[in-house]
């Protein structure tokens, strides 16, 4: 299987570490690892497809943003993080949460607004949290997670922990002032932050060229004096490789890194979006590079995965999704008397802290 190094373009002004020195070749050589990548992406895909159905049937409400087509980004990056690392995400974060290990049934229960949800039903699709897994949400203010992320990294650094904070955000968020402030701060203070920019070429209906004077985001990020790479975000192996390189560098005190993960959402921005602004042919072209199919084809080409294996995987994952839906449906709502809880911390928690 080819390593596709061309998929990673080095935009760093600083000198990049030699790929052979910093890449963990063994992991990606491992066939079972590749199968697990496919399984993770499949979990996200099938979970989100089910969510779309459940939205249509009215079981899920509010805003629902799925990342179908972008699964390789979440799964590739998460491979390179440890349990001590932290993750900050967006409102399009089911994939990040699942790939980070947030149990599917707590995520589904959250979609249902149930008390068993990972945010007790208070957050919904846009606000998945799991502090035990250092998954700090779920932020629906575009760019709003960036300052949090540099703060988490600052605290880790000041407390001498070797953790890295991965912060996901979109091409749209790149235009927000907070991006500028945070990349500069991270670079200035050499904070252990991975800026994982999911460039899906649109912010709602606005194509990147209509939002950014300079659309080469990796180049732009490099101007802050940080290491920066553009990556084929449809190729989970390329994402993992680039992210591992970046995370190693960060963990070794190399300062923050920026990854421009070029990807595409196959569906509309949200369930409200009639998707008037994209060319059908463009969507079709990107679908040819479906990250699940890309990997599956490789695994079938090199004999790792038979059609039966793939079928089995789908069945298993669908069973997991079914189970999550059943659990969510069976779960209770939070009592309405608890409405005003969690505005301020509760005494019992204070004692436990």
């Amino acid at each position: 299987m080819s390593r596709r190094p061309a998929a990673v373009t080095n935009r760093s002004q600083a000198q990049a570490p030699s790929p052979t020195a910093t890449l963990d070749e063994s992991a990606s050589r491992d066939r079972s690892h590749h199968v697990s990548l496919l399984r993770e992406m499949t979990r996200i895909r099938l979970f989100e497809e089910r969510c779309v159905e459940l939205y249509s049937s009215g079981n899920i409400r509010g805003f629902l943003h799925v990342a179908i087509g972008e699964e390789a980004v979440a799964v590739g990056v998460m491979q390179t993080l440890t349990a001590e690392d932290a993750v900050v995400s967006t409102y399009r974060e089911h994939g990040h949460a699942l790939a980070r290990g947030v149990p599917m049934d707590t995520v589904m229960a959250e979609m249902y607004g149930k008390v068993t949800g990972c945010s007790r039903g208070r957050g919904g699709s846009m606000h998945l949290f799991d502090v035990g897994r250092r998954f700090y949400g779920g932020n629906a203010i575009v760019g709003g997670g960036l300052p949090l992320a540099i703060g988490l990294a600052l605290a880790d650094k000041m407390q001498g922990r070797p953790a890295v904070t991965a912060c996901f955000f979109g091409d749209g968020a790149f235009a927000e002032g907070e991006f500028h402030e945070c990349v500069n701060l991270a670079a200035l203070w050499r904070l252990p932050v991975l800026f994982a920019c999911e460039n899906n070429f649109y912010a709602m209906g606005t194509a990147i060229a209509r939002a950014q004077a300079q659309t080469d985001l990796a180049l732009r990020a490099a101007s802050y004096g940080i290491a920066s790479w553009a990556v084929d975000g449809m190729d989970v192996l390329a994402v993992e490789e680039a992210s591992r390189k970046a995370v190693d560098r960060i963990r070794n005190g190399g300062g923050p890194c920026f990854l421009e993960l070029r990807t595409y959402r196959f569906r509309a921005h949200s369930m409200y979006d009639p998707d008037r602004y994209r060319d059908k042919a463009e969507i079709a072209r990107w679908k040819e590079r479906d990250p699940l199919e890309l990997l599956a084809r490789r695994l079938s080409d090199d004999g790792t995965l038979t059609p039966g294996d793939r079928e089995n995987m789908t069945v298993q994952v669908n069973a997991e999704v079914d189970q999550a839906v059943q659990a969510a449906e069976a779960a209770p709502f939070e009592p309405v008397e608890d409405l005003t809880r969690f505005v301020y911390s509760e005494p019992v928690e204070e004692v436990a802290r």
């Binding site: 509010g62 927000e176 606005t206």
Partner: protein, 343 residues
């Protein structure tokens, strides 16, 4: 004052004289933008996804095709930048309508709104006028959770130098924009998200309305329910249920949150001697507090019972429907407060 001072207060659709059309709040807003764009070429609309996408709540759908990308101007995600650009453009002779998708995001532009738009006229000694209109969606009720459901219009009403309006009817959705554009000062126009689909009839020749007066939407003698925006339908429903109990509530629609129309409010309360204020904003330090304080100041001796407030629970809005419903003013809670002040 603006030309609008002489215009009649908005009147219920049922009283319309000319032919009427079926329309929605969303369409009425769109018609208002379209008309303004046609009548005045200094007017343009700017904001995130107002063009190609058609507006995040479809208010501006079709306008890009009609007016082109210069005047229906999509922006990057840069709230402070493009709101400030609207201020600058207003100063230099344009009549911008800036759209901020949701009131929560407007916090990113608050420095520009408060430190510049509201302040430039005064700190320049009267030289710099900012004839800008900023539209935003406000309010809860659609399970959008804690970062998309705030009601900050009352909070904005704290700021001298701006005006704040909140259309609650088709007439006002159709008519407030033009008047706001004629105003030499910044006007913030808050559209409640739950009203976009509200439908009804509107006079074919519906046009500009004043942005100065509150109006009585339902007359009554026993108490005054003060309301506005997305809470108006709920308050009217509460009045109906009170009527079933023989309590006749007068329902006021504030329409304009800054400056408040004290006269209409006190006129009503001097007649009914009792008041309940309904405000989807948080209670503490909200608009409801200001109205209560003014009633104390202006008609203390007319009040037969303490002014009551029905507001949103002081929580960031939860996603789950039962919790969101419990957090918001509802016809039942409004009616209960009405019974309390009467009882």
């Amino acid at each position: 004052m603006t030309a609008a001072t002489t215009m009649p207060t908005t009147i219920p659709a049922t009283a319309a004289k000319a032919g009427t059309v079926e329309t929605t709040y969303r369409e009425a807003l769109r018609e208002a933008i379209r008309e303004a764009m046609q009548k005045d070429d200094r007017v343009f609309l700017m904001g995130e996804d107002v063009g190609m996408y058609g507006g995040c709540f479809a208010v501006s759908l079709g306008l890009l095709e009609e007016f082109g990308p210069e005047r229906i101007r999509d922006t990057p995600l840069s709230e402070s930048g493009f709101v400030g650009a609207g201020i600058g453009a207003a100063i230099a002779g344009m009549r911008p309508i800036v759209e901020i998708m949701t009131v929560n995001f407007s916090l990113l532009a608050l420095d520009q709104i408060l430190n510049n738009a509201a302040t430039l006229l005064h700190m320049s000694g009267g030289q710099v006028h900012v004839p800008l209109v900023i539209r935003m969606t406000t309010g809860a009720g659609r399970q959008l959770a804690a970062q998309h459901s705030h009601s900050f219009e009352g909070w904005y009403a704290h700021i001298p130098g701006i005006k704040v309006v909140a259309p609650a009817t088709l007439e006002d959705a159709r008519g407030m924009l033009w008047t706001a554009l004629q105003d030499p000062d910044p006007v913030l126009l808050f559209e409640h998200g739950s009203l976009y689909n509200m439908s009804g009839t509107l006079a074919e020749d519906a046009g500009p309305v004043d942005i100065q007066r509150a109006v009585v939407r339902r007359p009554g003698r026993d108490l005054t329910l003060v309301s506005y925006g997305g809470s108006l339908p709920k308050t009217l429903a509460a009045a109906e249920s009170l009527a079933a109990d023989g309590i006749e509530a007068e329902v006021l629609d504030l329409r304009v949150l800054r400056p408040l129309d004290d006269e209409t409010i006190t006129d009503s309360v001097r007649r009914t001697h009792r008041a309940v204020i309904v405000d989807e904003g948080w209670r503490s330090g909200g608009l409801s507090a200001e109205i209560s304080a003014r009633l104390t100041e202006q008609c203390f001796y007319d009040l037969d019972s303490p002014v009551e407030r029905v507001c949103s629970a002081e929580v960031p809005m939860p996603y789950a429907k039962h919790l969101e419903d419990a957090a918001l003013p509802q016809p039942e809670t409004i009616a209960a407060a009405g019974r309390k002040v009467v009882g």
